[in-house]
Amino acid sequence: MAKDRNARGRTLEAAAGNGLIDRRALLGRGMAIAGAMGAGIGQASAGAEPLIDDPWSLEVGEPMPIYQTPSKFEARVARTLSNPNFEPRNSHARTPHHLLDGTTTPNGLHFAINHGGVPVIDPEKHRLVIHGLVKRPLEFSLESLSRYPMTSRVSFLECGGNSAPMFSPEPMQETVQALHGLVSCAEWTGVSLSTLLEETGIDASAKWLIAEGADSPHLSRSVPVKKALDDAMIALYQNGERLMPGNGYPMRLLLPGYEGNMNVKFLRRIKLVDQPALSMYEARTYSQLLPDGKAYRFYFLQEVKSFITSPSHGQALKGPGLYEISGIAYSGTGRIEKVMVSADGGQSWAQAALQEPVLSKAFTRFRLPWRWDGGKATLQSRAWDEAGNVQPTRAEFVALRGELTKPAPVLAFPNQHYNSITSWGVGTNGEVKHVYA
């Protein structure tokens, strides 16, 4: 295979077509990329201006706030709102994946959908009751739950309608935030639901529980007891601090790997029952129309998926040279096993490096060095999970699930549970655009 040498004589070995370089080059990354970037961009040392002290180095800075927020120069790193004028309907806020790195979504940027505004809940008055087909109905306060054994887990949360614009028959020409911004990942800390169910006891006839929020729509979803006893949590903390109001303060149900809407926020009631409620969100909204006119029910699982966050739509490459392709992979089934990356629209693939730790049902960051030669390229990522599930190509996905006859508005949810490959086309001018390939 073609070989290239950087400034220190390290070998950068091609791993697939159109400039993809073996992921092992990342191990000595600082040196390798610095050298190669220099070679790509041109005379980096020529024309550098003499360094001077800027004003902030010559005066005392500002006092520290009690709760710090990002630099004012980072104001563009923000969620996009679907309903900025707060009209009487639901509101979405999407995570700007193209402006973030790593695997943790900062709390202020965690995606949220609320169906009746964000309730202002007094934590001292909030109660969680567990009742129905139990031996002892019980009521818990936030204070009492705070005395229970806590568990922490990193878990992604994804709206069942995330990526829905990609059901459109044409590429949407939207950013990764618009296409995939309804997924985020955080460390959640709380009480295992199984611990509380042990205290209430469960009647053998209980097969489902209905979880209900304290928000104005009293949002409710049915959850199999099977999941409740597996890894469900009453989450009280998000990335170390109490839940954000829009993410369910003071407590929410966390069902790792299951569609976001089931992870009921502002959780105030759990009722054990023998049959699902077929609430509006499961009977209508989260039942997905299929090409033959039938519809899926109880999809639940957010299946294996990945997308490249950099470079991505709306960004521009500043000249040929070495770049890092970076993105996010996750699966509701378990750990990510591997991610393959293509720079030639799927004709050849190279295995990306996975940032440790690789956690079950959590974001996994993948990276791969890529030398852009200035020509056209089509960047794709494809993920496998530990259960052997593979992210489908768009053609495979459409063959099973269908596509729309005309493009839908980017904020609409024309269908759900879309997990096929996302393609970014790089033009000779360096501009990156959403394409189908």
Binding site: E198, K207, P217, P291, Y296, Y299, F300
Partner: protein
């Protein structure tokens, strides 16, 4: 001073679950093999037993390994929150309503968002003869998609009107449900909806669903 072993954090009472739930719980929640479980179970039993005795001596509590801070509450005290309606009609309250009664309430409290005769406005249409062709969710209507009439009652009662949820009486919710069903020609204009009649309304699309992952239920 007595300090419970850290293992107690992962120990769970065996007496509470049914055998079925216990099997699921130990198989899925604990990522350990049965053999491994047996190997450590004696030590854990001792730890649980020790804590049980300690708690029994100090608090009289019967449950050893959780804080047991849930406050007993009876179903009567939960009644105001217990608004879940199941497809077979379980949970439907007393009361009744007719399409004619519903039309009056609709004109007062619903029309501004859902439009004249439920044909749609800033909020979704409630009355429609839309047929489904293709996979776009925008085609879904109560008549062509919703599988159970009980869902209409449940959603109105818990979430509507948008600005004043839980402000309707049960009679009003029955009347609005009857109005929507009648306008969609799913019941007669003179039919009364109550806890007995509503679950019997067969929605046209009821049998058109596929459980996506049956083994997850």
């Amino acid at each position: 001073m007595f300090t419970p072993d850290r293992a107690i954090l992962f120990g769970h009472s065996r007496a509470i679950f049914s055998a079925h739930h216990r099997a699921i719980f130990f198989a899925r929640h604990r990522a350990i093999s049965f053999a491994r479980y047996r190997a450590i179970s004696f030590a854990r039993y001792r730890a649980i037993l020790a804590t049980s005795l300690w708690l029994a001596m100090t608090t009289g509590a019967s449950l050893a390994e959780t804080p047991n801070l849930g406050k007993p509450i009876d179903e009567a005290a939960i009644a105001a929150w217990d608004i879940s309606i199941l497809p077979d009609g379980t949970g439907l309250p007393k009361g009744s309503g007719t399409p004619a009664q519903g039309a009056v309430i609709y004109a007062e409290k619903c029309v501004s968002c859902h439009g004249d005769n439920g044909k749609g406005g800033v909020a979704a249409a409630l009355v429609s003869d839309q047929k489904i062709a293709g996979i776009s969710a925008s085609q879904k209507t109560i008549k062509n998609f919703w599988p159970y009439s009980t869902t209409i009652f449940d959603f109105i009662r818990r979430a509507m009107p948008f600005q004043m949820p839980r402000s309707l009486s049960d009679d009003e919710v029955y009347a609005l449900t009857a109005y929507i069903l009648a306008e969609n020609k799913l019941i007669g204009a003179g039919d009364t909806m109550d806890a007995q009649t509503l679950p019997k309304v067969k929605m046209p699309n009821r049998d058109n669903f596929i459980i996506r992952f049956p083994d997850r239920i």
